[in-house]
């Protein structure tokens, strides 16, 4: 074998995988997105009426987390071409050449199958079915279909991120109820202003990758209007748990204040349309949106714990 042939085979081996570190595979699971999924699913599981064995509850959360990670890996497999173009995603394992698309696909499919099967066998098949649908919705409906074809991509695709608390709730109750639909709706209505704020200050990335995000297709002014509309719709849905009676009025008051602050940040985005002030307003709304979602779910959890302590005579 000549040296040239040998080097070719070396390069060939690199192209055929086996290069990734354990950390690269963990990065395929989108750990930051996963942390939000774990938190919201945990809140759904803990505030649901009735009880679940702590071990089975932990298994449910583990399966939801792994399922979410698997859909992240499938998303990175399909989106490697546009990830390579966008500054935010260019260092992901596939565009960085650490993991091949085939390895990511196999990793994602394996984890998807295991997470759904274990959740079904250990907890119940409704929650497993919802998890399977969530993975399908994120990987196929959002990533393969909507993301590159419509500026409404993240509105409909946002449903995938909204399912985890509903899965957590279903793990305990075995049903889908109005309460779990409200938890779903909070995240569903939160997603558009969250991602459109991001896309306002990362517009160049999406343009370069030809992803039809709203600011690219409809313009920044239309995006600001849409952000405001969704923020105004989100605020009362955040209060809905108190109005429907599965959270206290104290929660309702806190959620109302948080919703009002959200709308205020959205109004600043709406009003400031030029230069650095516009960019800063979008960055601040994006940052606050993360705080908002965390606090709403943390308050729901605290409220539920307090209610149980009061019912048990502890408070």
């Amino acid at each position: 074998m000549s040296l040239a042939d040998y080097q070719d085979r070396r390069l060939d081996a690199a192209a055929h995988g086996g290069q990734g570190d354990v950390g690269d595979y963990l990065a395929l699971l989108k750990p930051r997105v996963m942390s939000l999924v774990i938190f919201t699913a945990l809140v759904g599981l803990l505030i649901a009426p009735g009880g679940i064995h702590p071990v089975l509850g932990a298994v449910a959360i583990l399966c939801i987390a792994v399922g979410a990670g698997a859909s992240g890996a499938l998303n990175m497999w399909y989106d490697a071409d546009i990830d390579a173009i966008m500054s935010r995603t260019a260092r992901r394992p596939i565009p960085a050449g650490k993991v091949t698309p085939e390895e990511a696909l196999a990793f994602g499919l394996t984890l998807s199958a295991f997470s759904v099967l274990v959740l079904g066998l250990a907890v119940n098949w409704l929650s497993a079915g919802l998890l399977a649908f969530t993975i399908f919705f994120y990987a196929v409906v959002y990533t393969m279909w909507l993301k590159r074809s419509t500026p409404q991509n993240i509105v409909i695709g946002g449903a995938a991120g909204a399912f985890p608390p509903m899965i957590g709730w279903a793990a305990v109750t075995g049903t889908v109820t109005v309460e779990s639909i409200v938890l779903f709706l909070i995240i569903f209505m939160w997603t558009p202003p969250h991602f459109w704020a991001l896309s306002l200050f990362k517009r160049g990335d999406y343009e370069a990758a030809r992803v039809p995000m709203l600011p690219v297709v409809a313009g920044e002014d239309a995006t600001r209007t849409q952000i405001l509309v969704y923020s105004v719709l989100l605020a009362p849905i955040g209060v809905a748990p108190a109005l429907l009676g599965f959270a206290s009025m104290a929660y309702g008051a806190a959620a109302a204040v948080l919703g009002a602050v959200f709308v205020w940040y959205a109004l600043r985005v709406y009003a400031r349309r030029e230069g650095d002030a516009a960019r800063k307003a979008a960055v601040r709304l994006f940052a606050f949106s993360l705080v908002y979602l965390f606090l709403v779910f943390a308050l729901l959890l605290a409220d539920s714990i307090a209610a149980r302590l009061i019912a048990g005579g502890w408070l």
């Binding site: 074998m1 086996g18 290069q19 354990v22 009880g51 064995h53 583990l62 066998l121």
Partner: protein, 52 residues
């Protein structure tokens, strides 16, 4: 077969492969433990059976 045949891994590649193998091994061991505990909880004598 001569030494030139087949794919030769660099030391770095071998190190990464060892780490991946270790991670897969740990994951399988974790699954075994997980299935054992789930079986105990779901089918055991109920000593661990209490609501959250």
């Amino acid at each position: 077969m001569s030494n030139d045949d087949g794919i030769r891994q660099t030391e770095e590649q071998k190190k990464r492969q060892r780490k991946r193998s270790l991670a897969i091994g740990l994951a399988i061991a974790g699954l075994v433990l997980l299935f054992y505990v789930i079986t105990l909880v779901k089918m055991g004598p109920g000593v661990l059976n209490r609501p959250l």
